[in-house]
């Protein structure tokens, strides 16, 4: 119904009261007094037009009364626009199609479309339908609707991408769509084994049925897992996800021309490296491609940047660069990124910051502020200007940060408690695992759960500040906010192994690197061919039963969150107020017109 839902739909029954004025109108018409009178010729003639106008006025009055009653009922039903096309109360069938790279084998996605078409036809007539595609993330392509042809038209435009498979993400989004109503989910997927590996969240409420349509993966797949330039050679790694030994040609292509070609033989479920000498240009990109007609297509090609990428300048401001608290861990973590060539890290004492000019500082792609005690006023001004002018700043609020001068450094007041909170053994949890900084930690091998923090500063929540991660006690661990044209990330503990053992944790390096990449993403060229998760190239699949058993079931009560969300939406929109105002206007108009009639 045009995306309109109601918090209290039972009140709509009261709209039946609109029949009362209609019945009264009809009754009144039937019992209209007719008087036989001899001297009608002496009565003031009411022109036909005027009589019609009176009839029209009566109809307008009737319409106004009906509108007022209907609006009253609608207002009490608390309407809101949810952007969907089907009412929240209607049962829902969610068709979730796997659009990950592992669905890109020849003919595979066509079979998925056919399965989806069958699922649309087989869906109960009373059900609304929703269509979503899922890979790394789940995207709702068609909101709940009763228009099935709309789904079919979108379905024909769907294509597999190069993302990984994340079943929990898909199920979680389907659960959000279904909300508190009855529903079922049709999952159309190749049941790739790696689909459950990601450490994300998502399940289905009790009672929501799951129908799994298995799209058979290819029997084998060859994946070009990496390719890089070493001197005048291309070194490529190829993995064979098949039970038989295969020999595959490897092509090196630049500017549309094949520069070199080599063949490599790979054993069953094995991997092999191949070095291909080639007359490579000094700049631009080269494409490395393998021939695998039956396997997944996106993993058959990799892009190699031929010229050396300039290192991205990173500045680290510390209180004492010579001591143990001199930003050593962050520097070392960033130095390993991209084989040591991705970042150019410059560690400076706060006293030296003032020596740099503003123009010099603006060349820094991102700045880590680990200590402010030695920053003088010009230094603080420089950092503040840098941040407000579009700079990217990472602030670790360890013991070397002087709370009293922090507002001068950042240009904003952070609102935190001066004294540190001691929370021995507190761990860090990402608020949104899909945030670019935490994406590497979705797999169990790099979980943040092992990070332990002994002390941190309590940062109060603010409306303009997003909490990216929290400590196990609930306090913010990592926040993000805009400051002027720049961006500020605040880590509420330290990164110098004073208040936490985080720098010694295996998660520290990927955390630091991903944070730096996130802050400097505006300074790096976009890759010609997107890199992809190697696990997505593995066609190994699980059974339908294994898939079904792995689904985490949640209590229906948990779904109330969706109801709360609806309440929040309704509370923001407040259409009931508009309804009541319009109702009052209708009643006023009715009174005005009615008085003129009598």
């Amino acid at each position: 119904m045009l995306g309109v839902s109601f918090l209290s739909p039972l009140f709509l029954i009261a709209a039946a009261a609109a029949a009362v004025p209609i019945l009264l109108h009809l009754f009144h018409r039937k019992t209209e007094v007719v008087i036989d009178f001899p001297a009608v010729s002496l009565l003031t003639r009411v022109p036909v037009q005027q009589h019609r106008r009176r009839r029209l006025r009566e109809l307008v009055l009737l319409a106004l009364r009906v509108i007022a009653l209907v609006l009253l009922a609608i207002s009490f039903a608390r309407p809101y626009f949810n952007g969907g096309a089907a009412p929240d109360s209607a049962p829902l069938t969610v068709i979730a199609i796997d659009t990950s790279m592992s669905m890109s084998a020849p003919g595979q996605f066509d079979r998925a479309r056919e399965a989806a078409t069958r699922a649309i036809g087989a869906a109960p007539a009373a059900h609304a339908l929703a269509l979503m595609g899922f890979a790394d993330s789940a995207n709702v392509l068609v909101e709940p609707t009763t228009n099935r042809s709309a789904i079919s038209s979108v379905l024909s435009d769907m294509r597999p991408g190069d993302g990984g498979t994340r079943f929990r993400t898909a199920l979680g989004r389907a659960s959000e769509l279904i909300g508190a109503r009855d529903g079922r989910v049709v999952v159309i997927t190749d049941l790739q084994q790696a689909g459950w590996d990601a450490n994300d969240d998502g399940g289905l409420p009790d009672g929501v049925g799951v129908e799994v349509v298995r799209i058979a993966p290819p029997a084998a797949n060859l994946a070009l897992t990496s390719a890089e330039k070493r001197d005048r050679r291309i070194v490529a790694s190829i993995q064979n996800f098949g039970a038989a030994e295969v020999s595959v040609p490897v092509h090196v292509i630049a500017d549309g021309k094949e520069l070199a070609k080599a063949a490599v033989t790979i054993g069953a479920n094995g991997a092999a490296n191949v070095e291909i000498p080639a007359a490579l240009p000094d700049s631009g990109d080269a494409e490395v491609r393998i021939d695998d007609a039956t396997g997944y297509q996106p993993d058959n090609v990799r892009s190699v940047r031929l010229e050396a990428m300039p290192a991205i300048p990173i500045g680290i401001v510390v209180a004492d660069p010579t001591g143990a608290v001199g930003g050593l861990y962050v520097e070392r973590a960033l130095s390993v990124a991209g084989n040591g060539r991705e970042f150019d890290v410059d560690v400076r004492d706060g006293r030296d910051v003032a020596a740099r000019s503003g123009a010099d500082l603006s060349k820094v792609a991102a700045m880590y502020v680990l200590g402010t005690r030695t920053l003088d006023r010009p230094g603080r001004e420089l950092i503040k200007t840098y941040l407000a002018g579009g700079g990217q700043v990472f602030l670790a609020m360890g013991p070397d940060v002087d709370p009293g001068t922090l507002a001068d450094v950042l240009g904003v007041t952070l609102s935190f408690e001066d004294s540190a909170i001691k929370t021995p053994g507190a761990t860090m949890i990402a608020s949104d695992g899909r945030h670019p900084i935490f994406r590497p930690f979705l797999s169990p091998s790099g979980a943040l759960g092992d990070v332990q923090v002994e002390q941190h500063r309590r940062l109060n929540d603010q409306a303009d500040r997003t909490v990216l991660a929290r400590f196990s006690g609930g306090d913010a661990a990592l926040t993000e906010q805009a400051v002027g044209q720049g961006r500020l990330l605040v880590f509420t503990s330290d990164l110098d192994n004073q208040w936490s053992r985080f720098p010694l944790n295996p998660a520290f390096v990927p955390f630091s690197v991903e944070t730096a990449r996130y802050l400097t993403k505006g300074r790096r060229p976009a890759p010609v061919v997107a890199t992809m998760d190697v696990r997505e190239s593995n066609p190994a699949a699980i059974t339908v039963e294994e898939f079904t058993n792995a689904i985490e079931r949640t209590n229906r009560a948990a779904v109330r969150a969706a109801g709360h969300a609806a309440r929040d939406i309704e509370d923001r929109q407040r259409w009931w107020q508009v309804g009541l105002i319009v109702m009052l206007l209708a009643l006023s108009a009715e009174a005005l017109i009615g008085r003129r009639t009598t």
Binding site: V34, I35, P38, A39, V40, L43, T44, H51
Partner: protein, 297 residues
């Protein structure tokens, strides 16, 4: 209203049996009251001599005849018989309207019957023409003794007809009347006033005296309706949606203007005009008639 005069109340008259009885009650009641009025001694003429018999009033002896013939004769008087009166009664559908107990047609019938009875007592010849848009009943003028009964019977059998066309029977009758007489029109005059006037003037051109009884219902005079309603014309069926409160003043103004028109124009034409409401005593009509008759004679 006491004694016989109470029978002049239309509501009481309506409860009496036949129209014969009604007419008699009206006239006798009227005449009883008339003895005290200045209009006594009307319409008696010398008829013959008769030999005196014991018991006759000595005042009626003709002493001149006794002187010439030495015989006693008394004078016999007889009511005038040379007046021919035509009673024109409108029986159109609008005459069927009644806000109270009697319709305008009933009232008009009682009045017409009473007039006929009175004329019969006066030995006047009288006829009856009932009409709506055409002539519904026609009894030629006559002074025969049984004629009264025929007229009263015709009045009792009258039913409301169709639309009103007063002018046409007036013109037809005016052309047919040959000797000096009198025309009594009893109608609600809900017709084109100009045409009605033309028809009545036609009589005047031919030397016929005319008296018009304009019969209206009290609701037609005062329009006391309150509730908004559709007013349907009893003759044409035309409907007018109206809220009485908003059109009452306008209606009353038009009604009074029409009455004033009739009163003024008929007076200028030498035609007597008598406005009667169906709630008013019938003696007013009889009185008006007698005044006209006196003037005619």
């Amino acid at each position: 209203m006491a004694g016989a005069a109470r029978y002049l109340d239309p509501a009481i008259i309506a409860r009496l049996g036949t129209i014969d009885l009604k007419a008699r009650a009206i006239v006798e009641g009227f005449l009883t009251g008339l003895h005290r009025s200045p209009y006594k001694g009307f319409s008696v003429e010398f008829a013959e001599y008769r030999q005196y018999l014991p018991g006759d009033d000595l005042a009626t002896l003709d002493w001149k005849v006794f002187a010439r013939s030495d015989r006693h004769f008394v004078k016999k008087y007889e009511e005038e018989t040379n007046l021919t009166c035509h009673l024109l009664l409108d029986v159109s559908r609008s005459m069927g309207y009644a806000s109270g107990e009697i319709t305008k047609l009933q009232y008009a019938s009682y009045l017409t019957g009473a007039l006929a009875y009175l004329m019969h007592r006066q030995r006047d010849a009288f006829g009856l023409i009932a009409f709506d848009d055409s002539i519904a009943a026609l009894l030629p003028a006559s002074a025969r003794s049984g004629h009264l009964h025929a007229v009263l019977l015709a009045l009792e059998r009258l039913q409301v007809g169709a639309g009103t066309d007063v002018a046409k029977p007036l013109h037809d009758l005016a052309a047919a009347v040959r000797k000096r007489g009198m025309v009594v029109l009893v109608s609600d005059l809900l017709d084109d006033p100009t045409r009605v006037l033309d028809g009545l003037k036609h009589f005047r051109y031919r030397g016929t005296d005319v008296i018009v009884f304009h019969i209206l219902d009290p609701y037609e005079r005062r329009f006391p309706f309150e509730q908004a309603a559709r007013f349907r014309d009893m003759e044409s069926g035309e409907e007018v949606m109206a809220v009485p409160g908003s059109i009452r003043a306008d209606y009353l103004e038009r009604m009074e203007a029409r009455i004033d028109f009739y009163r003024r124009e008929l007076g200028l034409a030498g035609i007597d005009y008598c406005l009667l409401e169906t709630s008013e005593p019938l003696e007013l009509g009889l009185m008006a008639y007698l005044m006209t008759r006196r003037r005619v004679l």
